[in-house]
Amino acid sequence: MGLGLLASKAVRPASRILHSPNPRNFLLRTIVSKPELKKPEGAAAQTQPEPPPVDLPPRTPVAGARVHFDNPDDAIEVFVDGYPVKIPKGMTVLQACEVAGVDIPRFCYHSRLSIAGNCRMCLVEVEKSPKPVASCAMPALPGMKIKTDTPVAKKAREGVMEFLLMNHPLDCPICDQGGECDLQDQSMAFGSDRGRFTEMKRSVVDKNLGPLVKTVMTRCIQCTRCVRFATEVAGVQDLGMLGRGSGEEIGTYVEKLMTSELSGNVIDICPVGALTSKPFAFKARNWELKGTESIDVTDAVGSNIRIDSRGPEVMRIVPRLNEDINEEWISDKTRFCYDGLKRQRLNDPMIRGRDGRFKAVSWRDALAVVAEIAHQTKPEEIVGISGRLSDTESMMALKDFLNRMGSDNVWCEGIGVNTNADLRSGYIMNTSIAGLEKADVFLLVGTQPRVEAAMVNARIRKTVKATQAKVGYIGPPTDFNYDHQHLGADPQTLLDIAEGRHPFSKTISNAKNPCIIVGGGVLERKDKDAILATIETIAKNGKVVRPDWNGLNMLLLHAAQTAALDLGLVPRSEKSLESAKFVYLMGADDVNLEQIPNDAFVVYQGHHGDKSVYRANVILPAAAFSEKEGTYENTEGCVQQTLPAVPTVGDARDDWKIIRALSEVAGMRLPYDTISAIRARIKTVAPNLVHMDEREPAIFSSLPKPDITEKVSKTPFGIAVENFYMTDAITRASKIMAQCSAALLKK
């Protein structure tokens, strides 16, 4: 396992990824044992000789920890094991040690959560302090001499470890955390070699946290990370600490499920096996898994993930650190949709016979039939639609192919007729996801970020929590997990703000960094141009777009959308689908199938037997995101790629290769045979799409645009995502997602 994991980690350049202390890095620590350690009582009593002052080798900070000085005057100097480091005022002793390259063992401390200081694992010795101090909760003071390697510190850790293990069950062989457990690793490194505890261990009743998180509460060490995560990051008050002393328990106060779209993250932050993944329970050991660094496609955020697979099967999905996008969290949909990859898959090319049944055929036959019918159709009656999960390469190929056939009717789902895709600033998140943290006023227009883009919502929540930023919301009533003001439900409110009649327009113009987020659902409205123009007026009046700040954002809904707009896959007329005779659906499952005329020939190319298959005449099986190398651009314009983690199913092929083959059979050979050749082609359309792991900012935000004459309609804003857990072919095929929608969605 080890080599596979390392090799896959080396594949991806880590340019955008800032490393920060990762609690799972404990394996790196070396285990030191000296004779005097064996009898700590004696060693602690000894007087310590001064540490050698000179010739200390320079150390590298733990996991690339960096120091950022807001104000150079605030720098203080402390000594960690005699090695001097400069740190900003206000850092804790533990952080200072990290900068100095010393990794302090810990359970309750987590860099993204508040400090609890209740596990005591992080004890270190500080000169002139009578007893060891909890480094995570102690601010570093100028000139402090911190010692992490002394017998006192070691003895303290060993003692804490012994207390923690007292009530921890010895069930590592049947525990899913085994192999990636902080308690296991740290007891190996710092614990005693034998136990002295012979009494009965306490036991705790397991709690029901819903279909995603499995609990074995006897294993809990009361670090309260999960409680702090739920209240601070996820914004739900469901988890808490009950009882005192040995009766202390973590639980939901009343018999209640944890209703958060981020609940799966407690599995990662729980340092022991108390909270583990229910769908993954007893499925695999972590050292059997091969990790592949990839990108999530279930929403437009592009969360960084690692796909853990064993053989041809995706076993689980876990987050990867990316400070600019998902930090270290992912949504439950991202984490648990993977069982959908094993169900309802299309594995053979198929043609529907006269009796209405599908018959498996060879690729050659299927492509020949499709090519022939395409040739018999008039160019303007050919339509191609790409789906929510389509990668950039295949959308480029589809567009080129249809253009060569003489058709201009090629678009991506979720993009309204004649959407203006001219300027990138018009449809990306200009502020960038990380940039949202600088905003002090948010205006959300027709978007429900909690269900549309859970990670963006987490950012907004983080900002609101840290700086008390104000949030105004226009749209149907919906769930927020932070304070907000519901301004209205229809575009009229928008007009009021634009014309200064609404008190919120004052709030925007008084703000330092105002931020407007328009939902991607607006693109499907008939009056979208008028709405966008109104929003631009608000932006202009409120100075939302300045040279130093661009707060005008669109939050798109699907993984394919940004790249589709970049490539210009926009429907040109409302009638084209109704008059189509040949419809090519590339993973498009959410088109209105009623609109396709009965005599039209429908080709469905995709990986799941979802809605569109029922209407298809020919099925061409394609690869899912876990099986191919594909480029995706997220809603802020950051381009990332998926990598194949598992082999394709049956006879399926990569999407772009299918279209390339079809073009050859149809006698219009597309001029690319390799993925790099198709990327060279993309470079002549939207060069930003080949800058992997980069975010190309858009200029021209305030370019003069043609005047809009149409008026905004009175229709209230709609809900773009009805069911958070089921938004595309993969999540609709997933059993876990179905359980979640049944158990967790409020009726």
């Binding site: 080129d400 253009n403 060569r404 056939m405 003489g406 201009d408 004649n418 895709a421 001219d422 300027l423 990138r424 970049d566 210009g568 926009v570 040109r572 002549t684 359309v685 939207a686 060069p687 930003n688 800058h691 980069e694 190309e696 900012p697 858009a698 200029i699 021209f700 370019l703 003069p704 645009k705 043609p706 005047d707």
Partner: protein, 98 residues
């Protein structure tokens, strides 16, 4: 400049590629800034895709019927010359149609 209203007659799509900051792209940026509104008003249905990306040479691409494309490098051209280049692309489209 009557030809400007005819762009959508002969062209299916127009693409400007340029860098956000480089001096080589400065005239292309200025051209877009000054002419986008006029071009779009005259050709409301024509996609004029403006794609910025760091380190890109300024280019102008036109897509005609049947997926035929023509591109011109704009490096070193003045704004008038860019306008001329655009006109040439439209003319090329006119001759393709015939």
């Amino acid at each position: 400049m009557a030809w400007r209203g005819n762009i959508s007659k002969y062209l299916k799509e127009l693409r400007f590629l340029m860098c956000q900051t480089s001096p080589a792209s400065s005239t292309a940026r200025a051209f877009v800034e000054k002419n986008y509104k006029e071009l779009k008003t005259l050709n409301p249905k024509l996609p004029i895709l403006i794609r910025e990306c760091s380190g890109t040479e300024p280019q102008l691409w036109a897509r005609y019927d049947m997926g035929v494309e023509k591109g011109i490098k704009l490096e070193g051209l003045t704004e008038e010359q860019i306008s001329k280049a655009l006109q040439d692309l439209v003319k090329a489209g006119e001759s393709l149609k015939r």
